[in-house]
């Protein structure tokens, strides 16, 4: 077992475990912490895939900003009383679990069935864009050339979202009379 494969398996176990605990923990705070853990794990997985810049951004944006946001909101709510964590209804619950399981099976099956193509051709595909700063440079270049329009559009979207979020949180909550 090489270091690469060890690292992958280790990170895989960490992310899946923490991901499971996101949805299994009763206390939302624990869920949030587990999610942060997952984010960090995925960020590390990005490093194993030579995506250093993305890994950094993942850490900053997700593990940093988004998770802080979640935690802050949770703190703000200060949920004291117990809430039923999972939905009621055995039948729909069963269907939901079944569909999730089926989806998992299908996805894995699909990957296994089609991945033969990849293993033959691309397993040892050398990364053409190099490593380290060169890759980041290349990323920056195509981001500001080929994908400039989408980038700018996203900027507008973020502005809209920022205003919308402020407007929503300032509202009294719903159009119905209390």
């Amino acid at each position: 077992m090489t270091a690469d494969s060890f690292l992958f398996w280790f990170l895989a176990i960490v992310t899946v475990t923490s991901g499971l605990s996101v949805i299994l923990m009763n206390n939302p705070i624990y869920s949030a912490l587990s999610l942060a853990m997952t984010m960090v794990g995925i960020s590390a997985l990005f490093i194993t895939l030579n995506a250093f810049f993305i890994a950094g951004v993942q850490l900053i944006v997700y593990a940093g900003a988004v998770m802080v946001l979640f935690t802050m909101v949770l703190m703000l709510f200060d949920l004291k009383h117990e809430m039923q964590a999972f939905v009621k209804g055995k039948f729909t619950g069963f269907i939901k679990v079944a569909s999730v399981g089926l989806l998992a099976g299908l996805l894995v099956g699909a990957i296994l069935m089609s991945v033969g193509l990849f293993t033959e051709k691309t397993t040892d595909n050398p990364v053409t864009f190099g490593t380290g700063m060169e890759a980041t440079k290349a990323l920056g270049r195509i981001l500001y050339t080929k994908y400039l329009l989408g980038f700018e559009a996203l900027g507008v979207l973020l502005l809209v979202i920022a205003i919308g979020a402020v407007a929503l949180s300032r509202s009294k909550g719903g159009t119905h009379e209390h």
Binding site: T92, I95, K96, L102, L103
Partner: protein, 643 residues
């Protein structure tokens, strides 16, 4: 003035009057509403006179003012203009309609003075005049049909004018439905004529009418004209569709005078005269018309002899006189039919208005058994009614004599007529003299049977003035059509009427000139019969009052049948209406309710069930929606993978 402006004035001013009064239908002032309405008709009348003066000024070959305002319908071969035409026939009609109409409007101001819906009444009356003018001025059958339906509608509205009384409302409906039967046939007739001639324009139809008579019963001209005639039996109250007219007396009396005596009911006669070349090409149709006309004349007259309601008597008299006009059409005497139409419009309108005056004076009492000796209280009404009576029973030189005599002469010697038709006509005339004298005697003469609490009084000027004008017309109206045999003895008085109508009336084929002595004999016979009959009636109802009862007792079975109007209404109910109602009821119950409705219910339930099923999917539960997405992905993915 420009002809099209005049024409528009003639047609539209009653319509404008209708709009004004229709919009202020809640107003109660009879004088204002009546003033507006009368003014509208008067404008129409004056314009008509101007038009007719222009018409007279034209040379007789091209005597025709035709104006087309716009193309109304243009579908393939069917081209119909909103065209109006004033020629020799319609000129007479518009003068009668607007002239008599004006008088009746004036009369209505007095008669309807106390009514609450007076503005509505005048609005309807104006609308009627408008439609009637459309009917007579229209240059094609379709434009005529618009007016034809319009006057039917107004007739319905006015018969049921006091609709809170369910009997009167029912009378309106009866008129409307009976007319529908005729109108359907009229439509069929139009279809047939359009199919065979490709036009509905009167002028073109008459030009295209075959000159050789059609012998077959199934020929297109015979069928088409027969259908048109059935339409006419509806509108002009002939056998078998006459039943609505006596009931139509439920309406206000001026309405009875205007619509159900002078104008609307003559529309059928007018239509036949207008298409006389076409009808002449179908001798079978003419035979039917003559027989129906003669039968109606006699039958209605017999019923009229037994009625006690003053307006019912006049109504049956109208049916009978219309029968005369159809008899005239049937024997080819189209000019005489028009002549009688005009004189009848004068004297019957006069008598209806007179009866209205009597009813007004008697405080809405219509039973002649409770009248008598009214001549003392209603002198003007009495005198005018007397002149009308002389006119209708055909005493020379009053108007009715000339027209009726001409019809009888034609019936006797026209190739299309026969002695039997003349005999029926003469019998009708005799009976007419009888029941009219009876009416006069019971109403105005003899001893008073008026209940003590009623105090009859003469009507106001607005009501007596039209009576006087119409009475004068009833006297002199016939003088424009004096037959040659009399005319030459009076110093060559020409028969203006015949000359006037001549260009538009086609001669009956194989018509021979009548021997003057025969004509004198026929005149003498009819006048003599009428006089004797009138004298008997006078004896019966003035001198020896117990005689009629005894006479009725002696022929009790026949009297009962006639008194009950030959049980025609009952027969219609038993033979047509009730079976129809029963079939409809059964259809409704078994087919509609138990089949169609059930089908729809089942389908509705099915859809409701499906809706409920799919509604259970729409819970509003977001996670459930997410689950659907998940299931969708699973299904699509499994499809993609297993493909």
């Amino acid at each position: 003035m420009n002809h099209s402006v005049l024409m528009a004035l003639v047609v539209l001013s009653p319509f404008v009057g209708f709009l004004i009064n229709g919009l202020r239908y809640k107003k109660h002032s009879g004088n204002v509403a009546g003033g507006i309405a009368t003014l509208a008709i008067a404008i129409s009348f004056v314009s008509s006179i101007l038009l007719v003066i222009d018409l007279i000024g034209m040379p007789s070959e091209t005597r025709r003012i035709a104006i087309s305002f716009f193309e109304w319908i243009a579908v393939d071969k069917l081209r119909v203009n909103a065209g109006f035409v004033v020629d020799q026939i319609s000129a007479i009609m518009i003068l009668i309609i607007t002239g008599v109409g004006t008088l009746i409007h004036i009369f209505s101001i007095g008669y309807m003075h106390h009514d609450k819906g007076v503005a509505k009444y005048f609005a309807y009356l104006n609308l009627f005049i408008f439609n009637m003018l459309l009917l007579v001025l229209g240059d094609s059958l379709l434009v005529m049909f618009v007016g034809w339906e319009g006057v039917g509608l107004c007739s319905y509205l006015l018969i049921g004018f006091w609709f809170t009384d369910s009997e009167k409302a029912a009378a309106g409906m009866k008129a409307f439905i009976t007319n529908r039967v005729g109108d359907a046939a009229f439509l069929l007739g139009m279809f047939i004529l359009f199919m065979s001639f490709g036009t509905l324009n009167f002028h073109e139809l008459n030009a295209l009418a075959p000159t050789v008579a059609e012998a077959s019963w199934m020929g297109s001209v015979t069928l088409g004209t027969l259908m048109l005639f059935i339409g006419a039996t509806g509108k002009s109250a002939q056998i078998p569709l006459y039943v609505w007219l006596p009931d139509a007396m439920a309406g206000p009396t001026p309405v009875s005078a205007l619509i159900h005596a002078a104008t609307m009911v003559t529309a059928g006669v007018y239509m036949i005269v207008r298409l006389n070349p076409l009808f002449l090409a179908a001798p079978n149709t003419l035979m039917v018309i003559a027989i129906i006309g003669a039968a109606t004349a006699v039958l209605a007259a017999t019923i009229g002899m037994t009625q006690w309601d003053i307006k019912k008597v006049l109504a049956y008299s109208t049916v009978s006189q219309l029968g005369y006009m159809f008899l005239a059409c049937g024997v080819g005497a189209f000019g005489a039919a028009m002549f009688h139409l005009m004189t009848h419009a004068f004297f019957k309108a006069l008598m209806f208005l007179g009866s209205g005056s009597v009813i007004h004076a008697m405080h809405e009492e219509q039973d002649i058994r409770k009248m008598g000796a009214l001549r003392k209280f209603l002198p003007i009404t009495h005198i005018t009614f007397l002149l009308g009576w002389l006119a209708i029973i055909g005493i020379p030189p009053f108007a009715g004599f000339f027209s009726k005599d001409e019809i009888l002469a034609y019936a006797f010697h026209s190739p299309l007529g026969s002695t039997w038709l003349w005999a029926a006509g003469a019998l009708g005339a005799t009976l007419t003299a009888f029941y009219m004298t009876r009416l006069m005697a019971l109403t105005f003469w003899g001893k008073s049977r008026v209940p003590a609490k009623t105090h009859p009084h003469e009507s106001p000027v607005s009501m007596t003035l039209p009576l006087i004008v119409l009475a004068v017309l009833s006297v002199i109206g016939g003088w424009i059509g004096i037959p040659h045999v009399i005319g030459e003895h009076l110093g060559d008085v020409p028969n203006i009427w015949e000359h006037w109508l001549h260009p538009l009336i086609r001669e009956v084929p194989n018509m021979t000139h009548m021997d003057p002595s025969t004509e004198w004999a026929l005149m003498g016979t009819s006048v003599g019969l009428a006089s004797i009959s009138a004298f008997i009636a006078y004896n019966f109802y003035v001198t020896s009052l117990d005689l009629p009862k005894k006479f009725a007792e002696s022929i009790k079975p026949i009297y009962n049948v006639i008194y009950n109007k030959y049980f025609v209404d009952e027969a219609y109910f038993a033979g047509v209406i009730n079976p129809l109602v029963n079939v409809s009821k059964n259809l409704w119950f078994y087919f509609d309710v138990n089949f169609i409705d059930k089908c729809t219910y089942v389908i509705a339930d099915l859809i409701k069930g499906m809706g409920n099923l799919s509604r259970s999917l729409q819970t509003g539960n977001l996670q459930q929606y997410a689950m659907y997405i998940g299931i969708g992905i699973v299904v699509v993915l499994s499809f993609v993978i297993t493909r």
